[in-house]
Amino acid sequence: MTRTEPLETEPGLAELARPATRGRSWWQPHRIVLLVVSVALVMLAAATMRWDWLVEYWPQILIGVWRSVWLLVLSIVLGFLMAVPLGLAQVAGPRILALPARGFCTLIRGTPLLLQLWLLYFGVGSLFPTIPAIRQSFLWDYLRQAWPYALFTLTISFAGYEGEVMRGAFAGVPHGELEAGRAYGMSPFKLLRRIWLPRAFFRALPTLGGEIIMQLKSTPLAATITVVDVYGVIAQVRQDTYLVYAPLLFLAGIYMALTGILVLLVRVVESRVPIRGV
């Protein structure tokens, strides 16, 4: 489900030709009307729908949000650690590494995340108990639970998409910079650490920001294999109370808030990138 954000093109002349709205303040009359209407809609929803379940489920919802965030952060960190070698292998690796890396990215990007998740949880998960060695090992404690499958699937999914992004980023670092590093006698590893990786990372940053938000939107799939993240909690509420809309609308609100926070975080990180003109 990861999407590539549409490329922002330069502001076309079409925009400049319109009467300029840029100088005017945000508070135009129609916006105030729209705001009033939306506040009225929220009040209507608050007044006509049932919200009493919030009191009872509040602690569980918080735990659910915490689990979602935790799934997101871990899968991003681990996935990115996998994506760097995946991208590097495709750009600079020998064929024997480049082909499997490319195949992995194609496989991940070519199949739905839900299918990957169910394949691993229902498919692979049902094979494990038939192997006695696994039942006796310490891994069994984890393999019996659902969250390791969710974390693993989200991680390889992020790695697959980001491997492709990092491939482009590594390939896009100007050749001269790498040559300069080599001319200074840097070892291949030092070159990677000092020049290639940081430059590629900064180049990939805008795309990565978008991909992280996509990853947040993929986390609720974990609820389909019984991981009780925030989506799972709301699904439970819906089952218990037979309410159709109120819990779902509340859930949409939570995700919008989380996305908003992520967008702000990404913006802060991007503004700190110490380079110009990339």
Binding site: R31, L34, L114, Y245, L248, M256
Partner: protein
């Protein structure tokens, strides 16, 4: 453990036919949803670029909200809300509650989600068309319908195709989410087959290969379409 390939046979003791029917359903929904999304996208992009302030703000709310909420939540929300709204409408008009076709509901859901992304892709593409070309057409007295058909749409197409191709691939994969609301497309059919035979691994692998084939075939077609749309343009 050996692999029981006969489970994938096309006729009833095997589940191959069920899987293939699921694939066809998935493709129908993806195709229908994509087309609906494109229609919304064309309208949305023009609304955002040339519409009045209220239209523009409402469209901004639509695209922002859709892009900020997980597809899974949207699909569940729109699937239930959509069918419920139609039923209420039917009741208020004095009809009995109608049984909504799952296929139509699925197309509607995917279309609404895709529409937001299409809007952004097409808006960017239209903005990339040099304004002089549109101005020239206006100077020749072209009415706006003709202008759209002859100038804006063909000129923006090369800019839009990479984004739109990406959206098609997303549409095919998003149909899998309909399994969560219990709709029998490919992923749900696979789960049912797995549940009946306890051979989840085999069936999910088979379904994965089907999805992968859809993606790979789509990629080849996209390449041809892109080359055709970009003919006469500089290579990048």
């Amino acid at each position: 453990m050996g692999i029981d390939w006969s489970l994938l046979a096309l006729s009833p003791p095997g589940w191959g036919g069920v899987l293939l029917r699921g694939l066809v359903t998935s493709l129908e929904i993806a195709g229908g949803g994509y087309a609906l999304g494109l229609a919304i996208g064309v309208g949305g992009a023009f609304g955002k670029l040339y519409g009045g302030p209220v239209t523009r703000d409402l469209l901004e709310c639509y695209t922002t909200a859709i892009r900020a909420i997980p597809e899974l939540v949207l699909i569940v929300l729109i699937y239930y809300a959509g069918t419920d709204a139609v039923n209420r409408l039917a009741e208020s008009l004095g009809h009995d509650a109608v049984n909504i076709n799952g296929l139509v509901a699925g197309i509607f859901v995917i279309g609404i989600v895709q529409g937001a992304y299409s809007t952004e892709v097409l808006r960017g593409a239209i903005k990339a068309v040099p304004f002089g070309e549109i101005e020239a057409a206006r100077a020749y007295g072209m009415p706006s319908g003709l202008l759209l058909r002859r100038i804006t749409l063909p000129a923006m197409l090369p800019h839009a195709i990479p984004g739109l191709a990406n959206l098609w691939l997303i549409a095919t994969k998003d149909t899998a989410l309909l399994a969560v609301v219990g709709f029998t497309e490919l992923t749900m059919a696979t789960r049912q087959a797995g549940g009946a035979t306890k051979d989840y691994f085999l069936f999910f692998c088979a379904a994965g290969i089907l999805y992968l084939m859809v993606t790979l075939v789509s990629n080849q077609i996209i390449r041809v379409v892109e080359r055709r749309a970009r003919r006469g343009m500089r290579e990048v």
